[in-house]
């Protein structure tokens, strides 16, 4: 296939959406699970970091 302007735009848009979807629905849950497992198994660094992160209160304004 010869790439032109419009099919190139379609490919990069599609790829970007794929990355966003994979991040939201695959990578993020997997990351949470992994760090939780590390904390559950007694990894002190993971416990401490998760504690800091979970105690954080995000303020938008």
């Amino acid at each position: 296939m010869v790439l032109g302007l419009y099919n190139s735009i379609a490919i990069v848009l599609g790829f970007s959406l794929l990355v966003i979807a994979l991040d939201e629905y695959v990578a993020k849950p997997w990351r949470h699970k992994r760090w939780q497992q590390r904390a559950d198994s007694g990894d002190q660094e993971a416990i401490e970091l998760l504690k800091i992160a979970r105690s954080a209160k995000v303020s938008e304004e």
Binding site: L3, F15, V19, I20, A53, V58
Partner: protein, 800 residues
């Protein structure tokens, strides 16, 4: 929300500005998006066009001569098609018919100068025929495609006896014939010419025993246009690679998206502006937009990284983090953009229209990054969901940061500093040694725009090998009065000039009016060789010219001499256009002209491809040093105002100059010459090093205000800003290096060169710059240690 929390006093205005941008987000965003939409619309109107005239230094004396005479004596835009046979000779009915039809086809190609086609099948290539009653007539070699063997034999006899044909457009072994056509500069449509030459001159005549080769500048650019489609493949792949890398670095799709938005908005502003001011994109300059977009993305990565850092520091307060990252990075980002923009603008000094246009458009494009990166950035962050604290915390303590910390520890140890300084000194000396071989102009005989095994360069080599030289150098013999070209002394000097320059190993052959007069005189005296001389009297010469030209229309004779016999030319056909060879040939021409003045005329250098390349090379030599100096000086001046220090510029420019020397050494070793295509890319490459250095220096100053200790500040700067610089450099190097896959050798080489340049500049900013700062302890940094208390307290307050 007002700025009702404590902020650093020296940056209060910047914090206020960032906050106001969020406050007025809707009108600002609508305004910017409307203009961006307009520029986007104009961007899509852009076309790929190369204007040959824009590539020439129009103020140069050679180019003025070229412009004045290219319409009559031939320009630089020739296509040479070689028809060869593997077995037998071209003197068969089939082959001569093919050559005749190919010539007819060439005569119908768009933009061809119908009076400047040379081929045995064209009406303008004539021979002297002795007719009944002893009269002489100049008749075309072929009046039609041969009808039988008698006509074929007759054509062979004519060719073997015509000095203007045998060896020049028919090879001495009778196996090849040339069709040389000149194209009108104002009608150069490279794509169309390429397609029409293929469909009318080459494709219909291919056969088992036949090889057809085509070379010349319009053909070369045709190939470049054909390969330009590669750029979409490269852009798509690099886009995807960069997205994945950014996602891996930020652990969040927002980190991949945000720099993309910056790049796209800046690209619309840049491309739209190019169309708005009536310019077009040159396919050989496609690396440039990529490079500027990469620059925009690089600034955005710095900003995004800082936003994450400030988000944690500001107690997970999104708006404060946005404002803080904007204010804290304002100085390095803005001075980075302005140094890049004004650094590129110095290219305007080279009197080549294309470079001047490029300087203006590239500067504008780089300045447009301020819109996307600074004006719109806080607003985009405001609308994006903040990153999850968990992600920020985990990322800040990841393996990448630990690796940078270990590296910094080694670098700032006494041994690390010594090794760094010694290694850079050694590499710079090696660079200076090799850069002496840097060529101005093209370093090889084949076109450096395409690969050596490309169809174009294969054709070019085949034609050069068979005919000795196809690249014209036209020296005009300009008479002071009418009939000056009938003067024996003028013609003899032209002949002497030919013999003198033909001694150069890179000149294949030459042609002038003197060749015609000798040939006519010989035919007039029953082909006796002793009469192949220039007659002694004006009247004899005039008579012989009358015999030769009387049957031809003025449009045909004009390619040899103008109708009033005031001006003619000597054309040398060079074997290649290597920069060094052009310089030597032009020097020989100048020496001959100085030693051999004519009473009634003067030689004027120089038209043809070799002439205009000589002009471009001379302008580059004249401006190269000045431009480098002004480029660096501009950067130094901007740094002087940014950091209010005379020596700051030296610290940032030191590693940059060392990198510059090494890259020049690399260019010399790898036969990459400085020409009008490489020059702007090399100049833009300089800016990358400045950006890296600015982020590091700014962070050192920021840290020393809090910590007071120089070494600790440098260490912190390297593991924070340095981490982002490292990531930026890695992504930029990977994506730029991907241009190696381009079918256009120039783009591939420039991609690799810029990747190396960015790599060396990055290493300089991460090693040499911090070591220089810790060793020499510059005052413009150490004096900031006095502001430690308020900054430290502030940081503590913000954390609380």
């Amino acid at each position: 929300m007002a700025l009702d929390y404590e902020v650093p006093e020296d940056k209060r205005a910047l914090y206020w500005l960032g906050d106001q941008l969020i406050e007025w987000r809707n009108p600002v965003m609508v305004f910017v998006l409307l203009i961006t939409g307009l520029f986007a619309y104009w961007s899509f109107q852009l076309q790929l066009v190369t204007s040959f005239g824009d590539l020439l230094p129009q103020t140069h004396e050679f180019v003025k001569v070229h412009n004045k005479y290219s319409g009559t004596f031939g320009g630089a835009n020739n296509i040479v098609v070689m028809y060869t046979v593997d077995e037998g000779t071209i003197f068969t009915k089939e082959h001569l018919t093919n050559i005749f039809k190919m010539t007819e086809g060439m005569d119908t190609v768009y933009g061809v100068n119908h009076n400047q086609i040379e081929s045995i099948g064209h009406r303008t290539v004539r021979h002297l025929k002795v007719a009944a009653g002893g009269t002489l007539r100049a008749e075309p070699v072929m009046l039609r495609a041969p009808q039988g063997q008698d006509e074929v034999d007759g054509i062979r006899r004519i060719v073997h006896n015509a000095e203007n044909v045998y060896g020049l457009i028919v090879s001495l072994d009778d196996k090849a014939a040339l069709i040389r056509a000149n194209f009108i500069e104002g009608r150069l449509d490279y794509k169309r010419i390429f397609e029409e030459v293929d469909s009318k001159v080459i494709d219909p005549f291919k056969g088992d025993n036949i090889e057809i080769y085509a070379a010349g500048e319009p053909r070369l650019y045709g190939w470049v246009y054909k390969y330009a489609g590669d750029v979409f493949f490269i852009l798509v792949v690099t886009y995807c690679i960069e997205w994945v890398l950014r996602w891996m670095y930020f652990h969040d799709w927002r980190g991949a998206l945000r720099p993309t938005l910056t790049g796209i908005i800046a690209a619309f502003w840049g491309l739209g502006f190019i169309h708005l001011i009536g310019l077009a994109l040159d396919p050989l300059m496609l690396v440039m937009p990529f490079l500027i977009t990469a620059r925009a993305v690089s600034h955005a990565i710095q900003m995004h990284d800082r936003y994450y850092e400030e988000f944690e520091k500001c107690g997970w307060h999104k708006r404060r983090a946005i404002v803080a990252s904007f204010a804290e990075l304002f100085v390095p980002t803005f001075s980075g953009i302005t140094t890049d923009a004004f650094g590129v603008l110095v290219i305007i000094l080279v009197p080549v229209v294309m470079l001047q246009k490029l300087a203006i458009t590239a500067s504008w494009w780089i300045l447009a990054i301020t819109i996307s990166e600074m004006l719109l950035n806080p607003i985009v962050y405001y609308y994006l969901k903040p990153p999850e604290p968990e992600l920020v915390v985990l990322r800040e303590r990841g393996a990448f940061r630990r690796w940078i910390e270990r590296f910094t520890h080694v670098l700032l140890s006494p041994a690390g500093k010594t090794v760094t300084l010694a290694a850079w000194a050694l590499m710079t000396v090696i660079g200076i040694f090799f850069m002496r071989g840097l060529t101005i102009g093209d370093p090889t005989s084949a076109s450096p725009l395409l690969f050596e095994d490309s169809p174009y360069n294969v054709s070019h080599t085949q034609i050069q090998e068979r005919f000795g030289g196809v690249e014209p150098l036209i020296v005009v013999s300009e008479g002071f009065d009418k009939d000056a070209m009938k003067d024996p002394q003028v013609l003899r000097t032209m002949e002497k000039f030919q013999r003198a320059i033909e001694r150069d190993p890179d000149i294949g052959y030459s042609f002038s009016l003197a060749d015609i007069i000798r040939a006519v005189n010989r035919v007039f005296h029953e082909l006796e060789p002793k009469w192949a001389v220039i007659p002694d009297s004006w009247t004899d010469i005039g008579g012989l010219f009358f015999i030769f030209f009387s049957g031809s229309p003025p449009t045909e004779t004009a390619k040899y001499v103008d109708p009033s016999y005031t001006t003619a030319h000597v054309t040398f056909f060079a074997k290649n256009h290597q920069g060094d060879n052009i310089r030597r040939i032009i020097a020989r021409c100048r020496a001959f002209i100085a030693e051999n003045p004519m009473e009634k005329a003067a030689f004027k250098l120089a038209g043809g491809l070799i002439g205009v390349l000589a002009a471009a090379n001379e302008e580059l030599v004249r401006n190269d040093l000045l431009m480098n100096f002004l480029g660096f000086f501009t950067i130094w001046v901007i740094l002087l105002f940014t950091y209010r220090s005379f020596v700051c510029g030296l610290y940032i420019l030191g590693p940059l100059i060392a990198s510059n020397i090494m890259v020049n050494g690399y260019m010399a070793v790898n036969n990459i010459g400085v020409n009008i295509h490489t020059l702007p890319l090399v100049t833009v490459g300089v800016g990358f090093g400045v950006d890296y250095g600015l982020y590091i220096i700014s962070r050192i100053i920021e840290e020393i205000q809090v910590r007071g200790d120089l070494e600790a500040s440098v260490r912190e700067a390297l593991v924070t800003s340095g981490k982002a610089v490292t990531f930026t450099a890695v992504t930029m190097i990977v994506s730029t290096a991907f241009w190696i896959t381009s079918s256009i050798r120039f783009n591939a080489e420039m991609g690799l060169l810029l990747a190396i340049w960015m790599g060396v500049s990055y290493v300089g900013s991460q090693t040499l710059l911090p070591v220089l700062v810790t060793v020499f302890k510059p005052k413009f940094i150490t004096k900031e240690a006095n502001t430690k208390a308020p900054k430290a307290a502030l940081a503590a307050a913000r954390l609380a």
